[in-house]
């Protein structure tokens, strides 16, 4: 058995030992004998069929991958993302074709979705692209230097809201490290990014940024998992709002639950035939409202902070704040209760009490 393993490791498995330069190196990209499938296929394709090759690749993908091929035909946001991915791949394939026509044959053909599966049995998982260094830098510059709000940047780059925030946070940390003269893990970073698929960023060619992921993901609400029978009169206009209410009294329609509801509003206004001035006015008003709301929250927080008395100590600050004895609740065990209560021993020594913190404040 062990002999078999070493035979495989030194035979077909040899290709995984070192990364493939300029490409990912996953198991699904190889056949049983350790040949790179896309390279083999290209070698088999006769020269006169070069022009057809991308189309063939597309149909083959639809056959093998099924879901992706079907998705690319339809309209819709999820498919739009896949579309962008496929478009990018097609562009790369086109470039490759041109290179071949020019006789520059040394480069590997770009990988298709099939080649990005690290686990051969799991067809429903693939390695998705990560943000390239240039894209991260561009996002950071747009948010921090230009002062553009996160949702706008998110729409601009096709990167979800939380990812934009994370990128800015991490980039800021990187810059601080540079400021402090700490050594970055650059060799590691370069090697890892060379092994992963990346979302490119190329502002010079004047192309729109490649969409990284779908930004309007609607979370499947548990209340909508069941099928319900809702008799409705034929004359009634049964909209998404009504459907939401039928599932759960407090369930909002999809328009309000997606991360970018403002996109729907903007689209609706343009469909309603409003002029450009009116639309910009409405957008400005929305922005002002948002600003006012944010200021209100900040003011409230500031007031709360003012009410709290802080006495700085040597190592810790002592914070005094108003508490209510009623917060312990009726049985005296409420989570909001403050201090040690007579007659109720601490439970932290009891069996099964988990002492791992549940959150860490930044």
């Amino acid at each position: 058995m062990r002999r078999n393993m070493y035979a495989w490791i030194n035979g077909p498995g040899q290709v995984f030992k070192d990364p493939l330069p300029g490409s990912t190196n996953y198991m699904s990209a190889y056949d049983k004998t350790g040949n790179l499938i896309r390279k083999r296929d290209r070698a088999e394709t006769p020269e006169q069929d070069i022009d057809k090759a991308p189309e063939e690749g597309g149909s083959e993908k639809a056959g093998a991958w099924g879901v992706e091929g079907a998705a690319a035909d339809e309209e819709g946001a999820g498919e739009a993302v896949e579309d962008a991915l496929e478009k990018e791949m097609r562009r790369q394939a086109g470039e490759e074709k041109r290179n071949r026509a020019e006789g520059k044959d040394d480069k590997l053909p770009p990988e298709n979705l099939e080649d990005l599966r690290p686990f051969p049995l799991n067809k429903m998982f693939r390695s998705q692209p990560v943000l390239s260094e240039e894209l991260r830098e561009a996002i950071w510059a747009r948010v921090v230097k230009d002062g553009v709000s996160v949702p706008v940047v998110s729409v601009e780059f096709g990167v979800s809201n939380e990812r934009v925030g994370a990128v800015v946070r991490l980039k800021q940390m990187e810059k601080e490290w540079i400021g402090e003269g700490k050594t970055l893990a650059r060799p590691y970073s370069k090697a890892v990014l060379a092994m992963l698929p990346k979302t490119p960023y190329d502002p010079k060619n004047n192309r729109r940024p490649v969409v990284h992921e779908s930004i309007n993901d609607l979370i499947v609400h548990p209340a909508t998992r069941q099928q319900i029978w809702e008799p409705v009169s034929e004359s009634r206009r049964f909209t998404r709002v009504d459907a939401g209410r039928a599932f759960d009294a407090s369930l909002l329609p999809a328009d309000d639950r997606i991360p970018h509801p403002e996109l729907v509003l903007v689209e609706r206004e343009s469909l309603a035939g409003l002029s450009k001035d009116e639309r910009t006015q409405l957008a400005a008003k929305r922005m002002m409202d948002e600003q006012a709301k944010r200021e209100k929250v900040e003011r409230r927080k500031a007031e709360e902070a003012k009410r709290m008395q802080v006495v700085p100590g040597r190592r810790w600050d002592f914070v005094f704040q108003d508490v209510s004895v009623e917060s312990v609740g009726r049985d005296g065990r409420g989570a909001g209760g403050v201090g040690w209560r007579y007659g109720f021993p601490h439970e932290d020594r009891k069996k099964g009490q988990v002492k791992i913190p549940t959150r860490v404040e930044g």
């Binding site: 078999n4 393993m5 495989w8 490791i9 995984f16 030992k17 070192d18 493939l20 990912t24 190196n25 198991m27 879901v67 992706e68 998705a71 339809e74 309209e75 946001a77 999820g78 690290p118 686990f119 051969p120 049995l121 799991n122 067809k123 429903m124 979800s160 939380e162 994370a166 991490l170 940390m173 810059k175 540079i178 400021g179 003269g181 700490k182 050594t183 650059r186 060799p187 590691y188 970073s189 890892v192 990014l193 092994m195 309007n216 993901d217 609607l218 979370i219 499947v220 548990p222 206009r237 909209t239 998404r240 328009d255 997606i258 970018h260 689209e267 913190p357 549940t358 959150r359 860490v360």
Partner: protein
């Protein structure tokens, strides 16, 4: 203690990048369910999947973590939402048989591949998924040994469940060790190292530091704290301006001499770097602590000292910078940044490191290298943010699992209460 972690006879996939796992992955097939009762099928699927997902987690603990509600998302099209209010789905006869538009068709959502999604929340698993450790067990060890911070604070519990928005960072040197190729420890190299160690070290002659030509700024800085060490008073704008001017002069001198790079020039550059650092740390007294990055510091100094005639009366007009000086200052800051970056890029041979130098990725890493979408990783600082919990979306389950959907489904069924 278990006898063997990687089996060849009984195929088990483990959360690591070893060649054993790779080989097992290459010959993993769907478990044979013929001639097996449903219970047996579920048992086999459970034991197969649990050997991979959270193998370090006790079974009872996992049973408590298990959730029968699996999270999913559907990507929405804002244009479609704007054009329709939902009533179009109820319109027409039957299930829209006479409608012109083809209904939106999405690929099936692989919910069953999400069976083990609560495990992905664990800190050790997330560290491994972010490619900071070569196995989940190693990631666990890093946490226990105190190499990991969560939101800037040391976290020693590998079972800490990350919340969306949590940032975790691992000591870069540990990451380089975990993901780097192994140090060559043949008999030959060991003998050579022993020989080198046994050789008596010659005391190095102290290098002649250019103490004589130490810049004026260092003298002034050295002199000033020694006079009144206990309470370093914040320097006045005039003083700061003076120091800045000295910095300017040095910058100019260094940039002029920076034409050819020789050993002497390098020494000079190093001195210059030190001087600039000192000057900047003098400014730190005035720049708020929050301005840690070079860009912020530069922007702050510029805003403070560049022409702002009406802003404050306290800034006397003498404490202002010309555009020329400003440019020079910018150049000085850029130089510091470039120096740091080139030092990071160097990747030198260093026998003291616990990994092979110059650093290169370890064998078989590329076959396992992927970063799931619920993490955002910055490899330069070896830090990552846990953005959200993993979700199933049409055609894609975000939990990386090497098993087929059928196997995961059987495992899911095992953990449902009634079996």
């Amino acid at each position: 203690m278990r006898k063997r972690f990687h089996h060849l006879k009984k195929i088990r996939i483990r959360q690591d990048w070893s060649r054993w796992t790779l080989y097992n992955l290459s010959r993993l097939t769907q478990p044979n369910i013929e001639n097996k009762t449903f219970f047996q099928q579920k048992w086999a699927a459970k034991s197969l999947t649990r050997a991979y997902h959270g193998e370090q987690v006790r079974e009872k603990q996992w049973q408590r973590m298990f959730r029968r509600n699996l999270p999913g998302v559907v990507p929405m099209d804002h244009q479609y939402l704007a054009r329709n209010d939902g009533s179009e789905q109820a319109a027409g006869r039957g299930s829209g048989a006479d409608s012109k538009q083809r209904p939106r068709h999405l690929p099936p959502t692989p919910y069953m591949q999400m069976t083990f999604y609560p495990i992905e929340r664990r800190l050790d698993t997330a560290i491994w998924r972010a490619l900071f450790a070569s196995s989940a067990k190693q990631a666990r060890q890093f946490v226990v040994h105190g190499w990991v911070k969560v939101n800037g604070k040391k976290m020693i519990y590998p079972g800490y469940l990350l919340n969306p928005g949590d940032m975790f960072q691992v000591e870069p040197d540990r990451v380089m060790y975990a993901t780097g190729a192994r140090k060559d420890t043949t008999k030959h190299t060991r003998r050579r190292a022993r020989k080198r160690a046994s050789k008596p070290k010659e005391p190095k002659a102290p290098k002649l530091t250019p103490a004589t030509k130490a810049p004026a700024i260092t003298d002034s800085l050295k002199a000033s704290p020694s006079v009144h060490t206990p309470t370093p008073t914040p320097p006045s704008p005039e003083e700061l301006k003076e120091r800045l001017m000295e910095l300017m002069d040095e910058t100019k001198a260094a940039l002029e001499t920076d034409k050819g790079i020789g050993a002497k020039d390098k020494q000079k550059l190093r001195d210059f770097k030190k001087a600039v650092r000192r000057a900047i740390s003098a400014f730190r007294g005035e720049t708020p602590d929050s301005f840690k990055s070079l860009e912020d510091q530069l922007a702050f100094i510029k805003a403070r000292y560049s022409a702002a005639p009406s802003s404050s009366a306290s800034d006397s007009p003498t404490a202002l910078l010309d555009p020329d000086q400003e440019k020079l200052l910018t150049e000085a800051f850029n130089r510091i940044r470039d120096d740091t970056l080139s030092a990071s890029d160097a990747n030198p041979v260093d026998p003291k490191k616990p990994y092979a130098t110059p650093w290169r990725p370890r064998d078989y890493m590329s076959a396992f290298a992927f970063i799931p979408r619920y993490l955002e990783v910055n490899q330069n600082v070896c830090a990552a943010v846990y953005l959200r919990h993993p979700v199933a979306r049409p055609g894609l389950g975000e939990v990386p699992t090497p098993f087929a959907a059928e196997t995961s489904q059987l495992a899911f069924n095992w953990y449902l209460k009634r079996r």
